[in-house]
Structures are given as structure tokens and as C-alpha cells.
């Protein structure tokens, strides 16, 4: 039984990697590939960030420093290849350089900031972030201000015939690095060091009492996390062939914090889910509506208020049911469908209202909501969407209680199963 399970896991692994390898054949457009590449980079970044937040319990507002500065260093190396200073440097090892820069910076800044924990640590990281952002604008010779630096990745010797001109070659580069570094980070959580990090997070005094130097562990975790962030920054620079001051800014740090938290910090896979979904949302929403920041904010607040374990937590909630009594899932299906429909009602009503209000500021009276053209001068339409929103709220409330009742029954059932 056990071996079958293990084999099953292997097959899944294999299948996953196989799919990822064939993605560029499914999606040939360079936009889709750029998006995949961005996701890959941000997966590394957010998993690295979660090493700090989820596993060691340190909240940082300045992780973009390592991401961004490693990116700057890589782009300088890239333009060094462009200008024939070291033409034989292969591009695929640039992430190593980025990782080294990240490690070095993490080592120094970590030394200063891991003396403190909790809010003090968070504030120190915020201070460093603002400091570095301000410096990137002042030191023009290295950072080139708000213009950032451009470089050409189609350069130098073409090892293995890779020019990195076509986006899919970059995709494979990032895929390789993504799997490689996520794997290492996963293995790290399995080592005694990883366990020690958890111990420091959960109970500092006890960990100290057992004989560990907690500060050293935090420092190590910090440096390693910065190292992987550096590798991600390097790949970011290769992907966009450009790096600018916004990659070291508070906005970027906040983004990775959101990714890790929305995905779920309690789980190793959480940040990966978070990175994928938020990147997708960020790109797609901004394309569809001008009020996307509002929707973004509302989604965050709702996830934080109702799903504190993040997306991964939401999915893993079902784990005990699947493991013990999968047949009970059927019982949940109907309330879930109703809940889904109520949410849909609410979303349609609410977003249409927002779009209507938004359109009042522009000079056009006709707007397109969900493929239908409506006029904001029509009084009935306003009433219709207000009613729809109210209906959605009521339906959501009702179906939420219903789902909760069924859920509690199911969990009770499983608990009873344990007792028997």
C-alpha cells in the first residue's frame, strides 16, 4: 500500500514536470510566455520569502532589496558581456551571481536586523527598504535613476546553442532554476536546520533553552532567504532585460508579502499558489478594468478575514475528509454549488455597480460590463444592479451558514469515525 502511494507521487511529479516542459508548445504567444516566466521568478521569490515569514516567523518589508539589487548586479554583468568585458560568461550562471549578491547582502543586513524580532524587525526592514530605494535614485552611476538599466541577453557565447532570444529559451532557463531552487528550499525544510527555524518561530525561549543560538538561526535563515531572493532577482533581470528602482521598492516587498500570505504561509506550497494566482490576477484584472486596484484590495481583505490560512489552507482543509471518508465530499457538493452561485451573483452585481460609478467620472455614458453595453444614464439599470448586489449579499450570508452547517456535520462524522 505504502509503495503504491510512493509510486503515485513519483508519477505525479513526472507528469507535472512533463506538462511544464510542454507549456511553450501550447502557448506560443510571447505574452503568455512572459507571464509564465514572471510566475516562475515570483515563485522562487515568494517561496524564499516564506522561508523567513512562514518558517522562521520573521515579517520583512524589505525583501525586495535582495531581489532588486541582485537584479542590478546581474544586469551589469549582462551588459559586461554585451561590452565584451567577459564575453565567455554563460548567461545561465548569472543566477549564481545574483544568489551570491543576495547572500552577501543578507549576511550584512541580517547581522544588523536579526538582533530584533517581531515588529522591530519588520520596522528595520522597512527602514532599509526606503533607504535603498532612495539611494537607487541618488546614485545615478550604478542605478541610472528611475530609467533603470537595459541590457541585451542575446549576447556572448551560445552555450548548448541557446541564444535566449526567443522567449521559450528563457522559459526553460527559468523553469530549470525554479524547480532547482524550490527543490533545494523544500529539502532545507526537511533538514535539522529547517526544524530549528520552526522551533525558533514557535517558541523562542524553549529553543534557546535546548541550547540553540536563536539569533544565529534567524541570521542564517535570513541570509539563505536573501540568497534565493537574489537568484530570483537575477532571473527577473534576464526575463525583462531591464531593471528599475521599483524592483527594490516597498511596493515589490509588499507584493511578495501578499503572495506568500494569500497563498498560505503555513504550507510549503502556499507561496507557489499565491505567486501563480496573484501574478495572473495582477495582469488580467488591470487589463479588464480601471478600478482593478479596488478589486485587488477587496480580494485581499476578504482572504485575510475569511481564509487566514490562505488558498492552500482552504484546499488542505479538505485533506482529512479525502483521507478518511472521500464519500462525504458528495454531501458538500450541493452547498458548495449554491455558495458559488451566490458569490457569482454578488460579484456581478457589485463589480457592475463599481464600473457604473467609475464611468460617471469619464465623459462616456455607455460602458461595457460583462460583454453587455449599458448606459449609466438609465435609472433602471442602477436599480437592477443595486438589487442584484443586495440579493448577492443575502444569498451569500444564507448559503454560508448552510455550508457551515453541512461542513460541521461532515467533520463531526469524521471525528466519530476516529472514535469508532
Amino acid at each position: 500500500m505504502y509503495s503504491l502511494k510512493k509510486n503515485y507521487k513519483l508519477i505525479l511529479y513526472f507528469f507535472l514536470i512533463f506538462t511544464l516542459l510542454f507549456l511553450p508548445f501550447l502557448f506560443t504567444s510571447s505574452f503568455a510566455l512572459t507571464l509564465f516566466c514572471k510566475m516562475g521568478v515570483l515563485i522562487i521569490f515568494s517561496v524564499a520569502y516564506n522561508m523567513l515569514l512562514g518558517q522562521t516567523g520573521l515579517l520583512s518589508f524589505g525583501h525586495a532589496i535582495y531581489f532588486g539589487l541582485a537584479g542590478y548586479a546581474s544586469i551589469h554583468f549582462l551588459s559586461g558581456i554585451n561590452n565584451n568585458y567577459f564575453p565567455s560568461l554563460p548567461i545561465f550562471i548569472l543566477p549564481f551571481i545574483g544568489a551570491f549578491i543576495g547572500l552577501a547582502l543578507g549576511f550584512v543586513i541580517g547581522y544588523l536586523s536579526t538582533k530584533r524580532v517581531g515588529t522591530a524587525f519588520a520596522m528595520i526592514s522597512l527602514g532599509f527598504c526606503e533607504l535603498v530605494t532612495a539611494l537607487t535614485l541618488i546614485f545615478v552611476v550604478f542605478f541610472n535613476g528611475e530609467d533603470g538599466i537595459q541590457a541585451d541577453r542575446v549576447t556572448g557565447n551560445n552555450y548548448f546553442g541557446l541564444t535566449y532570444g526567443p522567449q521559450n529559451e528563457v522559459y526553460y532557463l527559468i523553469l530549470f532554476w525554479c524547480i532547482f531552487s524550490v527543490l533545494i528550499m523544500y529539502l532545507l525544510t526537511r533538514t535539522p536546520f529547517g526544524r530549528m527555524c520552526n522551533a525558533v518561530r514557535d517558541n523562542q525561549q524553549r529553543a534557546e533553552f535546548v541550547g540553540y543560538d536563536v539569533r544565529k538561526i534567524r541570521w542564517m535563515a535570513f541570509s539563505l532567504s536573501a540568497m534565493f531572493a537574489g537568484a530570483a532577482g537575477s532571473l527577473h533581470a534576464i526575463n525583462y532585460e531591464h531593471i528599475g528602482f521599483e524592483s527594490v521598492s516597498l511596493a515589490q516587498s509588499g507584493m511578495v508579502l501578499f503572495m506568500a500570505y494569500i497563498g498560505g504561509v503555513g504550507n510549503f506550497l502556499g507561496p507557489i499558489l499565491g505567486a501563480i494566482s496573484l501574478t495572473y490576477l495582477d495582469t488580467m484584472l488591470s487589463d479588464m478594468t480601471e478600478a482593478w486596484v479596488l478589486y485587488f484590495g477587496i480580494i485581499f481583505v476578504i482572504v485575510i478575514a475569511y481564509a487566514p490560512q490562505g488558498l492552500a489552507g482552504l484546499i488542505l482543509m479538505h485533506d482529512p475528509i479525502i483521507r478518511n471518508k472521500p464519500s462525504l465530499l458528495k454531501k458538500l457538493a450541493i452547498p458548495y454549488v449554491f455558495f458559488g452561485i451566490s458569490i457569482l451573483l454578488l460579484v456581478v452585481g457589485f463589480t457592475s455597480l463599481i464600473e457604473l460609478i467609475h464611468s460617471l467620472k469619464s465623459n462616456h455614458s455607455v460602458l461595457k460590463v460583462y460583454w453587455i453595453e449599458i448606459s449609466n444614464q438609465n435609472f433602471l439599470i442602477w436599480i437592477m444592479f443595486i438589487l442584484l448586489t443586495i440579493l448577492g449579499i443575502l444569498a451569500c450570508k444564507r448559503s454560508y451558514t448552510q455550508t457551515k452547517t453541512v461542513w460541521d456535520e461532515v467533520i463531526e462524522d469524521i471525528k466519530l469515525g476516529f472514535i469508532k
Binding site: T119, I124, E130, A134, V141, L257, F258, A291, I304
Partner: protein, 317 residues
């Protein structure tokens, strides 16, 4: 440095410092008491500015300065009651992220209601005249009014916190919420009120500053981090600390702006010159004045590493 320059530094620093104090005093209370790092604090400041504009459009500034902070405070209390209180059980990070999300929502709502460009929020005509003059530089009555009002507010908060029973309950809830609750006080309500009051202070700062620094949707984003510097430097929950920290930051930044010195000057003093075209010159020619924006953040880092309880805090951050 002449006496004239020194005078300017002190006076400009005082004005700027008291602005910072108004902005961050509310957060000092909130952070000290509830441990919530309210990222949306500057957003409440922004709402205050916009409400001040809107109300003074329909009536006048004096009605705005009275009602806008009350509305903002009420909004803050509602946010605490229906949002933050439910999230409290998930820990400080969740609370902080909630306010982070709130920040985005408020920014976009403000853009939806008042548009993306600055609104024309004007200084009240009654106070729009030069009141005092310091060697040729005018200071309008409105600046002095802001200065006086912020000093009064400091005195009022200080007195309430240290001399009244309300202050006692607030301070006790800060350290021992369970015992205060056991004594029959409604601690969640105290929290709500403090949060509302803190936001109201931010709103008041917004009404008073919006017509000077310009009322526009990005003002919250730009002021966000500096608020934390003041709160942390001053010390948790210490209103006196917030005042001193604001004044120090105000003076330091103003002084830094006045210094046209750079490393090249220092090298010259030591007897050698840096080549104007060398790469080194890019670094050594940067003046202290240009580095003034990083002063607060340097202060923040140094304080936290050396003395994490801040200037007047009673416990570590």
C-alpha cells in the same frame, strides 16, 4: 553658519515637526495600545483632507475642521469594530495585512469619488495673510494657526492620558487588558474608541495639511513610511516621545537641507582633490542636502538596533 540660517532651521523644523506630530500622534496611540501597525493611517489622513475640501466647499473651513475629523474617527471605529476585531485572533501580521488591503481600497475609492487629479482645497481666506516675518521670509497666519493647534492637541492628549481616569483605563488596557476587563470595563469598546480617536487625529491633520501640501490620491502613499519612523522612534504609546521624535526629524531634515557640503569638500580640506570626471566624483559630489530624504530612515534603523524601545517607550517595540 550664520545666526539667520540657524533661526530658519529652528523655525522651519518646528513647523515641519509639528506637522509630523499631528500626522503620527494618532498612530502612536493605536500602535502603543493595540499593537496594530496601521498601514492605512495615512489613508485616514487623506480622507480627512478630502472631507475637509468637500465640506468647506459646501459651507466653510471652520465647519470642516470640526466635522471632518469626527467623520473620519467614526469611520476608523467602524473599521476596528467590523474588520480588525474579527481578524485579531489571527495575529498581528493578519491585522497589518488587513490595513494594507484597506490602504489600496481607500486609495481607489478616493480616486473614484474625487478623481485622479488634485482638488482645489484652499487655505481659509481669514488666515491667508502673512502674520510674522523672519528676516524677509513671510510665515502666513495659517501656518501659525496649525502650529498652535497642534501644540494644543498635544497638551490635551497629554493631560487626558496622564491626569484623567479615562487615561488611566486606556493605559491599563495597554498593559493588562484582562484585569481591566475583570474590573468591569468594556475593553473592546475602549479599543474601538482609541482606534477611532487615532484615525480622527489623522483626519484632523488631513484637514489642516491638505490645503498646504495638496490634496491628491497619492498623498497617503507618500506619507505612509514617515509615520512609522516617528512612532517607532518616539516609543510605543508615548505621546511625548512622538512629539520629541517629530521635532527631531523635522529639525534634522531641515538642517540637512541647508548643508551644501559633500565629501569633495572634506577631501579638499584634507588636502587632495577628486577628479571631476572620475567615477568616484559621482559619489563624493553628493551633498548632505541631497541625502536629506534618507535621514529619517537612518534614524529609524539606528534607533531600532540600539534602543528598540524608542526615546520614551516603556517597553520594546
Amino acid at each position: 553658519m550664520s545666526i539667520e540660517v540657524l533661526l530658519f532651521i529652528i523655525f522651519n523644523g518646528l513647523l515641519y515637526g509639528m506637522f509630523l506630530f499631528m500626522l503620527s500622534s494618532g498612530l502612536t496611540l493605536i500602535f502603543g495600545m493595540m499593537g496594530i501597525l496601521n498601514f492605512a493611517h495615512a489613508s485616514f489622513f487623506m480622507i480627512g483632507a478630502y472631507l475637509g475640501y468637500q465640506i468647506s466647499l459646501y459651507s466653510n473651513f471652520w465647519i470642516a475642521i470640526f466635522f471632518a475629523p469626527i467623520i473620519v474617527g467614526y469611520m476608523g471605529a467602524m473599521v476596528e469594530k467590523y474588520g480588525l476585531r474579527n481578524i485579531h485572533k489571527y495575529g498581528h501580521i493578519a491585522e497589518l495585512l488587513f490595513t494594507f488591503g484597506l490602504f489600496y481600497i481607500i486609495e481607489e475609492l478616493v480616486q473614484m469619488i474625487w478623481g485622479k487629479t488634485p482638488v482645489s482645497y484652499k487655505v481659509p481666506e481669514l488666515l491667508n495673510f502673512p502674520l510674522i516675518q523672519i528676516s524677509g521670509m513671510d510665515y502666513p497666519a495659517y501656518s501659525i494657526f496649525r502650529l498652535v493647534l497642534s501644540i494644543l492637541i498635544f497638551l490635551a492628549i497629554y493631560r487626558v492620558l496622564s491626569k484623567t481616569k479615562t487615561g488611566l483605563i486606556i493605559k491599563a488596557s495597554l498593559t493588562n487588558p484582562e484585569i481591566v476587563a475583570a474590573l468591569g470595563h468594556n475593553v473592546p469598546r475602549v479599543f474601538s474608541n482609541v482606534f477611532g480617536f487615532g484615525c480622527g487625529l489623522a483626519g484632523l491633520a488631513g484637514v489642516m495639511a491638505g490645503n498646504v501640501i495638496g490634496t491628491e490620491p497619492s498623498m497617503a502613499l507618500l506619507l505612509g513610511p514617515i509615520v512609522f519612523v516617528v512612532v517607532v522612534t518616539g516609543g510605543l504609546g508615548s505621546i511625548k516621545g512622538a512629539l520629541v521624535a517629530s521635532l527631531i526629524i523635522g529639525m534634522m531634515q531641515t538642517a540637512a537641507v541647508s548643508l551644501e557640503l559633500n565629501l569633495n569638500n572634506a577631501f579638499q580640506y584634507l588636502g587632495f582633490n577628486v577628479d571631476v570626471n572620475s567615477i568616484l566624483n559621482h559619489f563624493t559630489s553628493i551633498t548632505i542636502s541631497q541625502l536629506s530624504p534618507i535621514v529619517p530612515y537612518l534614524l529609524l534603523i539606528i534607533i531600532l538596533i540600539a534602543r528598540p524601545r524608542g526615546l520614551f517607550g516603556k517597553r520594546d517595540v
